[in-house]
């Protein structure tokens, strides 16, 4: 099921620690952020679901969610933004579900990347293209 934002907030109180990454003085590249998160492990693609709209209705606030059962941390990247780092979500042992939903700003059409680190250090990755379009010519 798709969690509503309200339910996600409730879950958040129940044990998900949320840590955004503001304040980095210089923009890190996708490669740098990925390397730091994976510690060199090659990512698998199963066991992680990234949900995004195919075309953003509003590029300033694009809903994205990541579901990665068993993850201890989820990294979310907007590969085409001037600052690709969006957020890292960490999950403690009390977390009922390893799921995160938020809204992000996308500067242009790009791939959104989600990575999950499992307790054993393995990495899972999913990515999706989100189109940011001018729009305006519906049939």
């Amino acid at each position: 099921m798709t969690l509503s934002r309200r339910k996600a907030l409730t879950l958040g109180l129940g044990g998900i620690a949320f840590a955004a990454i503001p304040g980095l003085s210089t923009a890190s590249t996708v490669e740098e952020l990925t390397a730091a998160f994976t510690a060199g492990a090659a990512p698998g693609t199963d066991g992680i679901t990234l949900t995004t709209p195919e075309i953003a209705e509003n590029g300033n606030t694009v809903p994205v969610s990541v579901d990665a059962p068993g993850a201890v941390a989820i990294l979310l990247l907007a590969s085409g933004n001037p600052e690709p780092a969006v957020a890292t979500f960490t999950f403690g042992p009390a977390a009922g579900r390893q799921f995160a939903a938020t809204r992000i700003r996308l500067a242009k059409t790009q791939d959104v990347i989600a990575m999950a680190r499992m307790a054993n250090g393995s990495i899972k990755q999913a990515q999706a293209t989100v189109k940011v379009t001018i729009g305006g010519c519906g049939g």
Partner: protein
């Protein structure tokens, strides 16, 4: 490419589903006089469930001419597959002889001559006759309206949809879904929906703030001893392709996972037949059918395609019922023990001179039009040329609008949206105000005049081209290419976004468009709030009255490659 024979073999090979479909015996009746209503309606009842599908009526209450596309390019996996087949290739694929009634109804060749022989099509009073006849044979039949119903005519615009709502109510639909409906504004939509005796379905319509379902996703019907779930899917790109400020708190999207959940939910609730009443557009539905298991029938809409046979994706049949009231699809299904075992299908063409109007609905249509009679019938000018819009690139109706924009707003370049609605006019016909509104009646009609650089124009055209030619249908929005006046360009449909267009030329100088130079551009149907300028229908009316007679040869300013 699937021929009818291969299609039937494919159905049989799938073993669980068998089917038959087509246009019926009337295909052999070349002579117009030989066509009768009984032949058009002839159908051997089959199975235990009947669906009646009509979609994209665009408020067309009266019979009309509607020329099918000469250009309907398919990209990626859709290339060469229905519905991306036009003209002679279409006739060959479906075994239709040129010059026959069905060739006239379904393709563009010889349109003018055939239109004179076979007459106008559609009219909701004729549709009512067909619906009533099917219900007489199959009282349990479900009538399902795919949306784009409450937009597209003078009377619809003036009554904020009430005229077509009143007439459709007489047909007693069992459910509908939506697209342009929301351009009436959310308050008006809510006002109308509260009066309807049937559900306004949209499994993919959510509250934009809380991401919670905003409309009933499906309705369960018990018909012919079968529990039928009808799931609604509104146009996914509503806030992108149409003005989102008119329905600010709603979010749409394809939401494939949501669709899978809803299908599971209705199956768990005992649905023996799952029908998706969709406004996704055909290619989106084809992909969805492959990705979401458990849907038996998709009644497609939005892209205005009419196909005489269903397209089969796995165990799912996709029905395409055209637009503007030209066709009604009847689908009979054999459903037993929670499984669809077979189908029989017919795309019924609504030849207005052959099918007797239903008296009650005809009277209701006249009553709706009566207060506007004088305005509707006023002749603005004459056309010496066939005027049409439908197709991937400029039609002559578009050229008329573009020329009006350039002259009336003193612009270098004009842009007109790639709407797929808008009926055709034959050479020699008067152009009435009704005809003009049939091609321009929207609730955000202002014709802007602004300055754009050559680079900005390139970006806009590339953006729209990707909405049409992205090889992944989930990134397509289902309209046609934005029409251009005062300029020409080349397009390679196989290239990625940003490199499809080249050779952009300003026609009045013959020079290449300079990316850095500023041009005066006029257009209409901007999705931005507070767009300034005269309404497009007023602007074009003034232009036609000034010209008196319109003569426009088809002259596409677009060179297409990569086909």
């Amino acid at each position: 490419m699937i021929t009818r024979r291969e299609f039937l073999q494919a159905s049989l090979a799938a073993s669980a589903v068998y089917g038959a479909s087509g246009l019926g015996n009337w295909s052999r009746l070349a002579a117009q006089q030989a066509l009768t209503q009984d032949q058009l309606l002839q159908f051997d009842d089959f199975g235990n469930v009947t669906l009646i599908h009509i979609t994209d009526i665009h408020a067309q209450l009266k019979p009309l001419y509607f020329r099918e596309p000469e250009w309907n390019i398919g990209v990626g996996g859709a290339k060469g597959n229905p519905p991306h087949v036009v003209g002679p290739a279409y006739l060959e694929m479906f075994g239709i002889k040129p010059g026959t009634p069905e060739a006239y109804a379904l393709t563009y060749p010889d349109f003018e001559a055939l239109a004179k022989s076979y007459g106008r099509m559609g009219g909701l009073d004729r549709v009512a006759t067909v619906v009533k006849a099917i219900r007489a044979a199959r009282p349990d039949a479900l009538l399902l309206d795919g949306g784009d119903t409450w937009q597209g005519s003078y009377t619809c615009l003036k009554t904020a949809g009430q005229d077509v709502v009143n007439v459709m109510n007489l047909l007693k639909p069992d459910a509908m879904t939506s697209h342009f409906e929301f351009t009436l504004g959310i308050d008006r939509v809510t006002e109308i929906v509260e009066t309807l005796d049937f559900p306004f379905l949209g499994a993919n319509i959510f509250d934009a703030e809380w991401e919670e379902p905003a409309y009933e996703p499906y309705r369960m019907f018990e018909r012919g001893g079968v529990k039928i779930a009808v799931i609604g899917q509104a146009f996914p790109y509503m806030p992108i392709a149409n003005p989102s400020w008119m329905f600010p708190n709603l979010s749409f999207g394809i939401r494939e996972e949501r669709m899978a959940e809803v299908v599971q939910e209705v199956r768990d609730a005992g649905a023996g037949l799952v029908v998706l009443l969709s406004h996704n557009g055909f290619d989106v539905d084809r992909k969805l059918a492959g990705n979401v298991p458990g849907i038996d029938v998709i009644l497609t809409g939005h892209t205005h395609d009419a196909l005489p046979e269903p397209v089969l994706v796995g165990q799912t049949i996709l029905i395409a019922s055209g637009s503007n009231g030209k066709f009604v699809s009847r689908v009979d299904l054999d459903v037993r023990d929670g499984k669809m075992l077979g189908f029989r299908h017919k795309l019924i063409p609504i030849f207005s001179d052959v099918i007797t109007p239903d008296a009650e609905v005809a009277a209701a249509i006249d009553a709706e039009r009566e207060p506007f009679k004088t305005e509707l019938e006023e002749v603005l000018g004459q056309t010496e040329s066939l005027l049409y819009r439908r197709g991937n690139f400029n039609g002559t109706w578009d050229d008329l609008i573009l020329n009006a924009l350039i002259e009336e707003r003193e612009a270098d370049i004009a842009l007109s949206p790639g709407f797929r609605w808008g009926p055709s006019l034959l050479p020699g016909q008067p152009i009435t105000r009704e005809d003009l509104y049939n091609c321009t009646a929207i609730t955000y009609p202002n014709a802007y005049r602004s300055e754009m650089t050559g680079e900005m124009l390139h970006t806009i055209l590339e953006d729209v081209a990707d909405n049409l030619f992205n090889p992944d249908p989930y990134y397509q929005q289902g309209g046609d290419m934005v029409r251009v006046g005062g300029m020409a360009y080349s397009i390679d449909v196989t290239k990625p976004q940003g490199s499809r267009l080249s050779d952009m030329t300003l026609l009045k100088t013959g020079e290449a468009l300079d990316p850095a130079r500023t041009y005066v551009v006029s257009g209409w149907a901007s999705i931005n709030e507070n767009t300034e300028g005269p309404a497009i229908y007023d602007l074009v009316e003034a232009y036609i009255k000034r010209k008196g007679t319109i003569a426009l040869a088809p002259d596409t300013p677009v060179a297409v490659t990569g086909l």
